[in-house]
């Protein structure tokens, strides 16, 4: 794997960056919505789902100082410091999933139930992809640590 070619100092730094991504994005991107009942993802879009997605995607991180960060803003900030080109396939998967979430932003801000009804499955899949990919990458890095 590509990560095996990083020298040990880079590897430690990279590992920390991925751990931060996993924590800040992976953990909070589905913080409330992952705990919703399955019924929330079917049928008419309920306030409960809109509230949970709003919290998870529009206010993914709410630091004590400064404005809240959306999932894509968080990704942009944290991924900007990752060494390029990305040789780990998981990062590309996360980037693609974040793009799906970003596309749902207008509907979410407008609480547009009809639009959200069409997008919610894709959003849910993207949330799961982000969590899974970052978890997998983090684990792999831990295992390959010297």
């Amino acid at each position: 794997m590509a990560s095996e070619h990083r020298d040990s100092i880079d590897s430690v730094d990279f590992g920390r960056q991925i751990a931060a991504l996993k924590h800040d994005l992976g953990k909070y991107v589905a913080w409330m919505s992952a705990n919703l009942d399955a019924s929330c993802w079917q049928g008419p879009v309920r306030d409960e789902l809109i509230d949970a997605l709003g919290r998870d995607l529009l206010r993914t991180r709410t630091p004590a100082e400064g404005p809240p960060e959306s999932a894509w803003e968080l990704w942009d900030r944290l991924s900007a410091t990752l060494p390029r080109p990305w040789t780990d396939p998981e990062l590309h998967e996360v980037a693609a999933a974040v793009a799906v979430l970003r596309r749902a932003e207008p509907a979410l801000r407008a609480r547009d139930r009809e639009a959200l009804s069409g997008q919610r499955e894709a959003v849910r899949g993207a949330q799961q992809k982000i969590r899974g990919a970052l978890q997998q990458l983090h684990r792999r890095l831990l295992q390959s640590e010297p």
Partner: protein, 557 residues
């Protein structure tokens, strides 16, 4: 309703917990250690659990450690601060543990997310620290984890099945849990506490069973063993080791193999034998008296003392290396009865049930019940009030409020042992009186037609406590010069009459000295009617070992 403190720089956990665990109370969240410490200081007794995040995006000034000079001196300061933020929860945990070692804390991260593998190892080895099972938080599994931890804390600490009274306070529940955890480990345990606090009971009935060791529980009271027999008793002896050793015999170490060895009054162990015990703890071997070969042993050692072992070490009476091997960091102190007044009513009821179950009292109660048509195996209660309704299937011992106060306020220097004996006597004397006067049926002072209520006569309580009440401080006074001189003295028994009279004289002279403001001439006038006899008085005081310098210093304080 259990109270949970969330320490998190954001509202994420609070939102989630409030949404999915409405049955719990979440106190206002703490954003950093300073706020957490403040909340715990004010409400610590009411906090049942802490949920602690690991990553804190907070201003540098709020990050632990507050003194970061050493940290920032090494390498990139920004990276160091960032690392501190990423692991801040662990610093907070360490600080909390210093003051609240038994407070359950769920560190809201998975093992994989901890900055270092050693952190994970350490946290999982801590008794009251829990990590999340999953990488990503699932409210349902968190709720299960929280409920399981709270259930463990809420489980009543005391049951009548256990012969030790644990009570209902958080402090005792924590003590019991701590001992249960220590019991399972291989390290020795030190139990401290005044006489009668139940040290040997706890060792036998709690620690040994929970150690799950297959061998027996063997107890030795080192204060009762003659010094010259101690080595043979502990380590065994081989035939011919000394005159009189006509056969080889095992010591208690051999008998306790595979089990628990309880050494009571460990402070009485001679320095020589302390060395041998150290070998047992270090190497798991010992040498019987007169033996050439060492024997291996596998025992859990529990020691008890009512002395301060640390002070014994400082006084050179206890080996420091042995003390360190005895695991002093986890030493457990059993509180005295006096220190457990918060629990007093529960404690009274528990001991009452115990003493009523003793054979003699049980027989007396059976006779009482038979005479009055009550069920002999009725549950027992005790208190200051009369239960509202007659119940033939319950016996209530009624204490007069003044008796209750006497029992409650008494110092109980002999602790639970003395308390149990006193209650046992109370029950016996009360029941004997009632059984022998059965023809009268209704005891004096009882509620009309309420044989299920047995009043304990206040006189029995005061009569039983009086002999155990320490004498009050002597009210010594010397009358004015020329008038009659009266003096109340406290004279302990001594080895000879001469010693007694010297003690009397010594106290008398010390008091006179004080009242005469150190004027020996005045004392001589009082004693001999001769103001010029001061020198004689001084000589006599010297003979009695009275240090005039000390008396002067005391007078000046």
């Amino acid at each position: 309703m259990p109270s949970i403190l969330i320490i998190d720089d954001e509202d994420s956990y609070l939102e989630l917990c409030k949404r999915y665990m409405p049955e719990h109370t979440f106190v206002a969240p703490a954003r950093n250690y300073r706020e957490a410490a403040d909340i715990l200081r004010r409400q610590g007794d009411h906090i049942d659990l802490v949920l602690l995040d690991v990553h804190f995006d907070i201003p540098e000034v709020e990050l632990l450690p507050f003194d970061k000079a050493a940290l920032l001196a090494k390498g990139d300061a920004n990276k160091a601060i960032e690392r501190l933020r990423r692991s801040q929860g662990l610093h907070i945990l360490a600080a909390i543990r210093e003051r609240y070692p038994d407070l359950p804390v769920i560190v809201m991260t998975s093992r994989d997310d901890l900055p270092l593998e050693t952190d994970a190892e350490r946290l999982q080895a801590e008794d009251y620290t829990y990590l999340l099972a999953d990488d990503y938080l699932d409210a349902r599994s968190l709720k299960l984890q929280i409920d399981a931890i709270l259930a463990r804390r809420e489980r009543p600490a005391a049951t009548d099945d256990e012969p030790f009274f644990w009570g209902v306070t958080n402090g005792m529940a924590n003590l019991r849990r701590r001992l249960s955890i220590l019991a399972r480990g291989r390290l020795p345990i030190i139990i401290q506490g005044a006489t009668g606090t139940g040290k040997s009971l706890v060792a036998r009935e709690l620690i040994h069973p929970r150690s799950q060791r297959p061998g027996p529980f063997v107890a030795v009271d080192l204060s009762t063993l003659p010094t010259d027999l101690m080595a043979a008793h502990l380590f065994g002896v081989v035939k011919g080791a000394y005159t009189g050793a006509t056969s080889s015999r095992d010591g208690v170490l051999a008998r306790a193999h595979g089990g628990t060895l309880f050494l009571d009054e460990i402070g009485n162990l001679s320095l020589e034998l302390q060395k041998s015990l150290l070998l047992v703890l270090q190497e798991g071997v010992y040498r019987p008296v007169g033996a050439v070969k060492e024997n291996a042993t596998d025992i859990k050692i529990v020691v008890a003392t009512n002395e301060n072992l640390g002070a014994l070490v400082r006084a050179g009476r206890f080996r420091e290396d042995l003390y360190m091997r005895l695991n002093p960091a986890t030493a457990v102190t059993l509180p005295s009865l006096h220190e457990r007044r918060d629990d007093f009513e529960e404690l009274l009821a528990w001991f009452m049930r115990q003493v009523v179950a003793e054979a003699y009292n049980r027989d007396l109660l059976a006779q009482y019940c038979e005479q009055r048509g009550l069920v002999a195996t009725s549950p027992i209660s005790v208190g200051r009030g009369v239960p509202p309704r007659y119940d033939a299937r319950r016996i209530h011992f009624l204490l007069h409020p003044s008796s209750f106060k006497l029992l409650h306020d008494f110092e109980w220097p002999g602790n639970f042992r003395q308390f149990a004996m006193t209650l046992s006597n109370l029950v016996t004397f009360t029941l004997v009186e009632l059984v022998e006067r059965a023809e009268k049926i209704e005891p004096e002072g009882s509620s009309e037609g309420r044989p299920d209520v047995i009043p304990i006569p206040p006189k029995i309580v005061s009569d039983l406590l009086r002999p155990m009440t320490p004498p009050e401080a002597p009210d010594a006074q010397v009358m004015a010069i020329g008038g009659p001189r009266t003096l109340t003295l406290e004279i302990p028994a001594a080895e000879s009459l001469n010693a007694v009279s010297c003690a009397v004289e010594r106290q008398y002279l010390e008091l006179l000295y004080e009242r005469s403001a150190g004027d020996l001439g005045r004392m001589a006038e009082l004693l001999l009617g001769d103001e010029g006899g001061g020198r004689k008085v001084q000589l006599r005081m010297n003979q009695l070992g009275i240090k005039l310098r000390s008396l002067k210093r005391r007078a000046g304080e």
